[in-house]
């Protein structure tokens, strides 16, 4: 179990990381972005899709990046980063990206590719900063696009079996649980809202504890 101080340290790292990445998104949509303070929960892996459903309902648009932080002389820290958009934000978000209204007929044609490019820059910059704070090396895949019912997401976006990076949280493993970090964001002038979430595998929480302690000793003390 992480102590309250360690949880605060993880939240601060996430806040710094996303704070470093959001200007990228702000420039791309040419608008100011508002974002919440981070919240942290320890969640059994099987509840992750329920959490998403409770946030966005039955229709979600999400971009999923699997990553691994490779710590020197310590175990790797696997995780997942997700950009989650409410379904009703998709059209306004595309309009903001393209700088003009995107006709409904073209939205399906352009949305997967455009959002993947955006999420790649946003999530990779966020995870890069996290990785730097932990003095680790970073390995991350290109985000995968999913649109539909959150309950179908894990089955719809499997990682390739030969992938070098770890898989999404395994809902079939009853013991698996994750530290879930979340920041909600909105682009008020464009009527867009969503969240960025990071799940860090907490099944072996001594590895996570070591990583956080490294940050506390090198950056805070």
């Amino acid at each position: 179990m992480l102590t309250e101080f360690e949880e605060d340290a993880i939240k601060e790292m996430f806040n710094l990381s996303l704070g470093n990445a959001l200007p990228t998104l702000s420039e791309m949509v040419d608008a100011e972005i508002e974002f919440s303070t981070p919240c942290l929960e320890t969640t059994p892996a099987k509840q992750l899709t329920q959490t998403i459903t409770s946030m966005v309902g039955e229709s979600a648009c999400l971009l999923h990046m699997v990553f691994r932080l490779m710590m020197t002389n310590k175990a790797d820290l696997p995780g997942n980063a997700v950009l989650l958009l409410r379904a009703d934000s998709l059209g306004p978000f595309l309009d903001a990206l393209y700088g003009e209204p995107v006709p409904q007929a073209l939205q399906d044609q352009v949305c997967a590719e455009a959002l993947t490019d955006v999420a790649d820059l946003l999530l990779y910059t966020c995870i890069s900063t996290l990785s730097r704070l932990l003095d680790s090396e970073l390995e991350g895949n290109k985000p995968l696009f999913f649109r539909g019912k959150p309950t179908l997401w894990n089955r719809s976006c499997p990682m390739e079996p030969n992938s070098d990076v770890p898989n999404a949280p395994n809902e079939n493993n009853a013991d698996a649980h994750s530290i879930t970090l979340r920041i909600d964001l909105s682009i008020p002038i464009k009527h867009v809202s969503g969240s960025v979430m990071i799940w860090l595998d907490a099944s072996h929480d001594t590895d996570l504890k070591q990583a956080v302690q490294h940050y506390i000793t090198t950056q805070l003390c």
Binding site: L106, V110, S128, G140
Partner: protein
């Protein structure tokens, strides 16, 4: 202290050129759909910056025993990135210690059928290639400013790693660097 030691040198990067340096310098360039990957090593202040016009081409980039200079290297995001990283490796600096920043790639997003379609494709492909290289080389991307319909003038201060960015309207970009718009 002499004036040369207090005033950093200035370098202007034309499209297809790149810079590697060991002393404080202000490196400036103007970008349309081209991209600049800026690399900085905070501990030693060694730095590099490219101005790639095109994404990539088939090219073997040599080994860890030396630095290969490809023909028309600076034109391609892939070749110039390989060269810059090889230079850092020769200086004993691993990728994980570098800070990467990415700029440019204007007109990444434009609706199918628009007249700017070819420019769009180049800006988008330049950014995608740079991101693929960043991911493959496990670089830490700490900042980026890409896409949008505007050009960018960037000033990289190699002594501090700071990058200052100025957005340019298209007419302004035409005046500053007419070649870059046509070529990239």
């Amino acid at each position: 202290m002499g004036i040369l030691e207090t005033t950093p040198a200035s370098v202007y990067l034309e499209p297809g050129e790149l810079f590697v340096g060991t002393r404080p310098t202000e490196v400036c360039t103007v970008l349309g759909s081209c991209v600049s990957l800026v690399l900085f090593h905070p501990q030693t202040k060694l730095s590099a910056m490219g101005h790639g016009k095109l994404p990539s081409r088939p090219c073997s980039h040599g080994s860890a025993n030396g630095v290969k200079v490809c023909r028309m290297m600076g034109d391609f995001v892939s070749c110039s990135t390989h060269f810059m990283l090889s230079w850092f490796h020769q200086m004993g600096i691993p990728n994980k210690e570098l800070e990467a920043k990415l700029f440019g790639g204007a007109m990444m997003f434009n609706l199918p059928g628009k007249e700017e379609a070819s420019t769009v494709a180049i800006g988008k492909r330049n950014v995608e290639t740079a991101m693929d290289m960043i991911r493959k080389e496990r670089l830490h991307l700490v900042a980026s400013d890409v896409g949008g319909p505007w050009g960018r003038k960037i000033f990289f201060h190699t002594g501090s790693g700071e990058v200052k960015l100025q957005r340019l309207r298209k007419t302004e970009l035409d005046l500053v660097n007419p070649l870059e718009i046509k070529e990239s």
